[in-house]
Symmetry: C2
Subunit: 201 residues, 2 copies
């Protein structure tokens, strides 16, 4: 698909690199811009550039941030005795959006993966241990994906943190809320039977 | 939904203005940029800005163009005795992509709509008539949507062009190719029976 304008072709090519955006959606986006005021495109273009060039990583938890310390780390209402250990800053956004967690975070930036040559020192585990050594953190919730790499990383972190006297817990595994039982995979279903929860109501 | 960074929030807000892009897709797009090299964002940002500020409209057919005359108008392989009259530059892209049309275009930039106060002189109809007056155009294909505004505009253009001795045709209306008969609306079905085509094979 190519149009009568190389400017459009270029923009379509760039926009279609986004995940989930195909050539047709990208063309629709480009044509949308042409119908808006020039100011709108300038604003969009600047905010994308600023996003990429001015974003920082929190010096304490490695979450994305506008300043040296992120909003969560500086918030006085957050419980600093609990830390939730996640792989990526997306996970922080996902957990924050639940509104059910009121502690701090630690973003690893990856998972231990011997196959890919990623060891504990290649991700933010040393920083986590030195943070935990300060003695403020009492509980750590390991919130990683339930994959081989996730489980390996979880095991390693749990071992190290327990040595420092930190209580370690992990996300409960089981069937999805609102999910149909017949579509749950066998492993998940087996785990959700094994880890069944007592009903108190 | 808000994140720990106002830069991300701003970018998400900007991206979610695109048609078909919600807050969640916009966030995924913003986070995607953060994981790519800085150069990629600079390139994207520049190509969007260039698209909006450097795009021109063809002086002859009002299609979008990089130069004073668009690719179609300057192409020596296009038949300049046929002109296809469309509402928008998207329509040009759609028709060009069929690969079945080898003539020129004329982009109206709107449709006659008395309700909205849009008359023949508010869109590129005077330019079309002066173009047709030159005597090169022998046939005009009116390719407008089959709506009240489309039909009004079609009727007006056909009347004016016939006065200049130009043969005027319109797109055939009927059931969609590959479409199920039972899902076609009554008006379309009635029209496709009335305008039935003789089978020659």
């Amino acid at each position: 698909m190519s149009t009568s304008s190389s400017l459009i072709d270029k923009a379509v090519d760039q926009l279609s690199r986004f995940p989930g955006i195909g050539k047709k959606s990208a063309l629709r986006m480009a044509l949308y811009l042409l119908k808006q005021s020039e100011g709108e495109t300038i604003e969009l273009s600047e905010s994308l550039l600023k996003l990429r060039t001015e974003i920082k990583f929190c010096k304490q938890c490695f979450n994305i941030s506008d300043a040296d310390l992120c909003n969560v780390c500086v918030s006085p209402s957050k419980d600093d005795s609990v830390v939730c250990i996640v792989k990526d800053f997306q996970d922080v956004i996902a957990i924050e959006n639940t509104g059910q967690y009121n502690g701090h975070y630690h973003v690893l930036g990856g998972l231990i993966s011997p196959v890919d040559g990623v060891g504990p020192n290649d991700i933010k585990i040393p920083e986590l241990i030195s943070r935990a050594s300060a003695g403020v953190i009492k509980e750590a919730i390991v919130a990683l994906s339930s994959t081989l790499e996730g489980d390996t990383t979880e095991y390693y972190i749990a071992k190290k943190l327990r040595e420092l006297g930190v209580e370690v817990s992990t996300l409960s595994k089981g069937i999805a809320v609102g999910g149909e039982l017949e579509y749950a995979d066998e492993m998940t279903l087996a785990r959700s039977i094994k880890n069944r929860t007592k009903m108190n109501y």
